[in-house]
Amino acid sequence: MGELKTELKNKIITSLNLEDISVEDINDNDNLFGEGLGLDSIDALELIVMLDKDYGIKLTDPKEGKKIFESIETMAKFIEENRTK
C-alpha cells in the first residue's frame, strides 16, 4: 500500500496545485482538510472526481467523503478495498 500512498500524494500535489509542498511533507496520517494540508471544498470535489477517473470508484453518498478523505492513510485503505481499476 506504500506505493499507492506515494501515488496519492503525487496526484494530490499535482491536481490540487499545492505549491511548495513535496511528497515528503505529507505524512500518511496528516489531516488533508482544516489545519493539515488546508484543502477546501472544491478540492474535495476534485478528489471525488479523481476516485472515479483513476480508480473507478463512484461515491454515491458525498457524506462518505468526510471519513475517506481524512488522511492519505484512510484514502489508500478505501481505494484498496473498493477500486475497480
Binding site: 490540487l16 496545485n17 499545492l18 505549491e19 472544491i42 470535489l45 476534485e46 472526481v49
Partner: protein, 200 residues
Amino acid sequence: MNNGIHHYCRISNGQVILDDKVLFTNEEKNFDGFIKSVYKHFEIDYPKFYKMDPLCKLSIVIASILLDNSEGAIEDDMALLLSNKSSCIDVDLKHQSTIEDKDDYYPSPANFVYTLPNIALGEISIKYKLRSENSFFIFEDFNPEFMVDYANSLIHLNKASSVLCAWVEVNKDNYNAFVYKVSPNGKTEHSKEHLKTLIE
C-alpha cells in the same frame, strides 16, 4: 466635481510598470511562469493564487501591485470595473477538453469554478474585503470612453467613493493588463484622451 487617477500599473511584454517606472522585468515567454515570477517578486503572499485560472492570476496580481503600492486606506466601497477581450477563454477551453468525450467525461470542479470572467472580481473583492459595485465587460479593445463614463457615473451617483478600473487580457501566452484607480482625490487627469496615452 472632477475625478482623477491616483496611480496606474501596466503588465505587458515581460514588464511591470507602476506610474511610468519599470519595477520588474522577466523575459519568460510562458504566461504561467511569468506571472508566478511577478507574484513572487512582489511577495503578494496569497496561496490561493496557485489555484486560479490565468485571468484571475493576472487580475489579482496587477490589482495587488497597484493597491499595495498606493498611499492611504482602501475604501471598502471601492467599485471594481474590469474589462477584456478574451473573457476567460483559457480555462473555458480547458474545461471543454474534459467534457467533449462522452467516454472520458471527467469535468474538473477546480476548473469549472473559474469559467466566468467575473470570478476575477470576486477574487479581488475577497482579498481586499470589498463589498462594492462590480462589473466585468467584454470589448474588442480597451474602451476608454466607456470606462471614463462608467467610473464617473459610479462616483457621481454615490455608488462608490473610488473605482478600480482595469483591462486584463490574457489568451494563452499573450497578456496585457492595465489598471488604475479613480476618485475625486486623484491628481492625474481622468479623460479618455489621457487613458489612451497611458495604455499605448
